[in-house]
């Protein structure tokens, strides 16, 4: 029960075997770095509040 669509799928995924490292992920990198920045900000914010209430 091989469908037309599946054939296309199979062919396609042979091509992008080595694509993984070549992907342009600048935007992804920027987004995760922004999350990392927020993580540092929020944690140190909470830590400063904790020390103030000490």
């Amino acid at each position: 029960m091989t469908e037309e669509k599946d054939k296309v799928n199979t062919e396609e995924h042979e091509h992008d075997e080595d694509n993984h490292h070549k992907l342009d992920l600048r935007g992804t990198f920027m987004m995760v770095m922004a999350i990392g920045g927020l993580m540092l900000l929020s944690w140190f914010g909470a830590f400063i509040l904790f020390m103030e209430r000490m």
């Binding site: 490292h21 992907l23 990198f29 995760v32 770095m33 990392g36 944690w43 904790f50 209430r53 000490m54």
Partner: protein
């Protein structure tokens, strides 16, 4: 793994490690271990026969490097004492226990926030520098009168009220 992913996971993990190191230093050197840590038992049905809790309230410390011991009984649905004065600048070790169910003990606006459980004594040491008033609320559900449980800590200048 993509190059960027390696960087992200490394930096992320490093940040988490830094948080842990700061927490570790603050706990070991700053004495800021989590509130109520440790195991100190008391029989919940005989709390009042214990000299420390027979008359809960502020008492001059007889040992340790704090100035006062402050004993609280958290029960359904009240705290004893219902109000307490603490001389500003003094270091106080708070001891809380419960004769019935689990209660919370949160001194609003401070880091004093811990559970009070029957059978155990929760302690936390704190220096009260700024004069002012702090509301104490129960923050663990204990029954229908849960929100009626309040007390007050008044940090006062000068006076040495230590009943």
């Amino acid at each position: 793994m993509h190059k960027y992913e390696k960087i992200w996971i490394s930096l992320g993990t490093a940040s988490l490690a830094i948080f842990l190191i700061i927490l570790g230093i603050s706990a070991v050197h700053g004495g800021h271990t989590p509130a109520a840590s440790g195991i100190e038992t008391i029989h919940p049905e005989h709390i009042r026969e214990d000299p420390r809790f027979s008359e809960p309230g502020l008492k001059e410390a007889t040992e340790g490097d704090h100035d006062y011991d402050l004993y609280f009984i958290a029960s359904a649905f009240m705290y004893e004492p219902g109000e307490v004065d603490i001389p500003a600048g003094s270091t106080v070790k708070i001891h809380v226990t419960s004769p019935d169910v689990v209660h919370g003990f949160q001194v609003v606006g401070t880091n004093i926030n811990m559970m009070a459980e029957p059978g155990l004594i929760s302690t936390y040491e704190m220096t009260f520098d700024e004069p002012g008033e702090h509301l104490i609320v129960c923050n663990e559900y204990c029954g229908v009168g849960h929100t009626d449980m309040t007390s007050k800590i008044k940090v006062v200048n000068g006076g040495t009220d230590n009943e």
